[in-house]
């Protein structure tokens, strides 16, 4: 088993030549996957631009790096060149205070709308007796910078039946047709990447798992892969197979849930209930293998934590046999419903060129006919040893995205069966020992159910990472979702949202931990309007 080595080029450039370099790389066919900023103290603010070429050539990655002055951090925006940098640069503006010149829409995405008054103006003073911060509403009405069109404005959220997690989608509507939409995130912000810098690598593994509930194995796996890459550890074959098995089982349950949710949001609740019924078989398997239904905690640095016994693989195979019958039957039932198909067909069309230009990933890209899948492009775990292929559809609409998910579920079941057979005969070593972590940095990518996942881990030789940066799939796809919402019917908005299947919990990565009533956060300021 020879894994193609990760080919990572880190190039340091001047901040002035950034625009040319970026357009140069983009002309070569790169996808810009993320932009991150790190405050490096006296060296200034480090800004990284991540590019990958792996849809042309396996495992090719480039990082463009530049340092900004800490006193006056100014950088030229690359959003006019490629829209893929839009949200990343807004993140730089909000979290590091960098001035991005020439950004077309430098509004708030994560921070509260009145954060300037909170953090730079008068500091809120706690009451001397109760030690509580005054929570009376501010005298000045909050400046609402989301939508300023003279049309009817429909709010979706922070709590709305169409969203499982809280976020705030605001739409200007003209006769049930959406003219303009904007999204406000930041309701689930938990500061996980900052917490990771304070804990050792073993604890980070469990923290990474809690970034997202539904793709938790992929998060901990990506973190573990980057640490293994830093420590130059070879993971045993059985562990690789077990990881592949766990990832695919997670993909099955995630896709089934998302297919069911599409039905629920278009009014077909029967579909949701049956999707949950079938998904329960997979949840039982996950519980048998890992010991928990949601956060599995099976990945360890250098391998897996618990053995997968023969009885367990037999259990999975017997459950897969049941699912092989019930899943295609369920998909037939969905596709035979003309009303549902009419709701999804020709809705939310993302053309192939647009998908390529805006950097779509995951089922969104594959629904537009792009062959983008990290499992094939830069293989991880044991995906090279099993027989499978990328699933694509050419419909470009919501229906195509659902069909991709349906066929991927069947493909994942096929992979699971192979993994179960191979685990039985694999040598029994479970985990390689990670002894020492030298200074260095690496990135690792994996294919979560919603798209590619990027972890950038930098080690400074101690037992804690110097910094960690996470790019989750929804970060790219939610922006594309906004573009799709423009100009569609209000009734189609839930269908589009659920076909893109955003996971805001991943994107936010933070919780306000109310410890012993001392850190009271003004929840009103988080919610935009009062």
């Amino acid at each position: 088993m020879s894994k193609p080595h990760l080919n990572l080029i880190i190039r340091e450039i001047k901040a002035d030549t950034l625009g040319e370099e970026v357009s140069d790389l983009l002309e070569k066919g790169a996808r810009m996957i993320y932009t991150s900023g790190v405050d490096m103290g006296v060296r200034g603010i480090q800004v990284n631009y991540y590019f990958c070429f792996d849809h042309h050539e396996p495992s090719q990655h480039t990082i463009l790096r530049t340092y900004l002055d800490r006193k006056n951090p100014v950088i030229h925006s690359v959003t006019p060149v490629t829209s893929q940098a839009d949200w990343s640069e807004r993140e730089l503006i909000e979290f590091l205070g960098i001035t991005v010149e020439g950004h077309p829409n430098p509004t708030h995405l994560w921070l509260p709308l009145d954060w300037k008054e909170i953090y730079t103006g008068e500091k809120p003073v706690a009451h001397p007796d109760t030690e509580r911060i005054n929570t009376a509403p501010p005298v000045k009405p909050l400046k609402d910078n989301i939508v300023t069109l003279p049309l009817t404005t429909i709010p979706y959220g922070p709590y709305h039946p169409a969203f499982i997690e809280s976020n705030y989608l605001k739409m200007s509507v003209e006769d049930e047709v959406v003219r303009k939409a904007d999204l406000k995130l930041g309701f689930n912000h938990r500061g996980i990447i900052k917490l990771m810098e304070r804990r050792d690598y073993y604890k980070d593994l469990f923290l990474a798992e809690r970034v997202c509930g539904i793709c938790n194995t992929h998060h901990s796996l990506s973190f573990a892969m980057s640490v293994e890459d830093l420590a130059a550890v070879e993971v045993p074959q059985k562990a690789q197979m077990a990881r592949t098995l766990l990832c695919e089982m997670e993909r099955i349950q995630s896709h089934l849930l998302s297919i069911g949710l599409i039905g629920d949001l278009t009014g077909f609740r029967t579909m949701l209930m049956h999707a949950i019924r079938i998904r329960e078989e997979m949840q039982d398997c996950l519980e048998v293998v890992s010991g928990q239904r949601v956060t599995h905690g099976l990945i360890a640095l250098g391998g897996i934590r618990r053995d997968i016994t023969e009885n367990q693989t037999d259990f999975i195979l017997s459950k897969l046999k049941i699912m092989k019958k019930s899943v295609p039957q369920f998909f037939d039932q969905c596709q035979s419903n003309d009303v549902l198909m009419g709701r999804l067909k020709d809705v939310g069309i993302l053309k192939r060129e647009n998908a390529l230009k805006s950097g779509a990933i995951g089922p969104v890209a594959r629904g537009s006919g792009l062959r983008i899948d990290v499992r094939k492009n830069s293989p991880f775990a044991a995906y090279e040893d099993v027989d499978w292929d990328i699933v694509t559809e050419n419909g470009c609409d919501c229906l195509a995205r659902i069909k991709v998910k349906m066929r991927e579920t069947l493909m994942s079941m096929h992979i699971c069966e192979q993994c179960c057979d191979k685990i039985k005969i694999a040598p029994s070593s479970l985990a390689a020992k990670v002894n020492e972590l030298p200074c260095g940095e690496t990135i690792s990518r994996s294919e979560a159910p919603r798209g590619e996942l990027l972890y950038h881990v930098v080690s400074n030789g101690t037992n804690t990472p110097a910094f960690v940066r996470i790019r989750v799939p929804t970060f790219i796809n939610a922006r594309i979702m906004l573009e799709l919402i423009h100009g569609c019917w209000l009734a189609d908005v839930p269908a589009i949202i659920s076909s893109v299947d955003p996971c805001y919990s991943c994107t936010d990565r933070v919780t306000i931990f109310k410890g012993k009533e001392q850190s009271i956060v003004d929840m009103r300021s988080l919610g935009g309007r009062r």
Partner: protein
């Protein structure tokens, strides 16, 4: 899809009316054998070494030294059920399974296995579709509620152990007596009996002395740590 296929799919949906519903009451469904639950500490085995406290990623374990006693507790509301504490415990005192601990419960569990049967060695109880009449399961739920009641009883299980006093200066050391005994037993077990008799005296003296006293007297006692390695 053709029209016949469509009608067939609708027919399949409608026939669900005549099948048994799949939903079951909470705690009636499938539970795997290695399901991770609240960590239970075996108070007899625990030595208070603090390995679990060091590795816990959510800060759920607590070790507090008050006076001459050390209290080890687990905060059930902070625990994330990752099982890392059980992995690192040198005494294997921690368990995260849902196994019942009293004799009565064990007996009850075996009855349960008889009525429902188990699948392989992986699952303990599978009561799917039979909850309407099984009094047994209700009793089981009640027992779980009693042993892990979340409202009245704090789910944390505390263990209190005595701390060692320095035999020379009399100060309280941050080590429990039990931990030192266990270390000593373990070291002496691997030695020949005649050597053990010699080593035991020196080792007892060395282990029951606080760090500052050790530094002062190690030369005259001839108990330098190098001697034991």
């Amino acid at each position: 899809m053709n029209t016949i296929g469509k009608f067939k799919a609708f027919g399949e949906l409608i026939t669900n009316v005549f099948r048994n519903p799949v939903t079951v009451r909470e705690t009636f469904g499938f539970v795997a054998k290695n399901f991770r639950w609240m960590p239970r500490r075996d108070a007899d085995k625990c030595t208070g070494c603090g390995a679990c406290n060091e590795r816990c990623s959510s800060g759920a374990t607590n070790i507090t030294d008050i006076g001459t006693e050390r209290t080890i507790s687990i905060d059930g509301l902070r625990c994330i059920f990752c099982g890392r504490c059980a992995d690192v415990c040198p005494e294997h005192a921690l368990e995260l399974t849902i196994e019942p601990d009293t004799e009565e419960e064990k007996k009850f569990r075996s009855e349960l296995l008889k009525t429902t049967g188990d699948v392989g060695d992986t699952c303990v109880r599978s009561l799917r579709g039979s909850d309407e009449d099984s009094e047994v399961s209700f009793k089981y739920t009640e027992q779980i509620n009693v042993s892990y009641g979340s409202e009245e009883k704090n789910p944390a299980i505390d263990t209190t152990l005595k701390l060692q006093r320095c035999t020379v200066c009399g100060e309280v050391m941050p080590v429990t007596e039990k931990h030192l005994n266990v270390i000593m037993e373990r070291v002496l077990k691997n030695l020949k009996p005649e050597t053990a008799a010699i080593v035991k005296k020196d080792m007892e003296l060395y282990l029951t002395t606080c760090i500052s006293c050790r530094r002062m007297h190690s030369l005259e006692w001839n108990t330098h740590p190098r001697k034991f390695t």
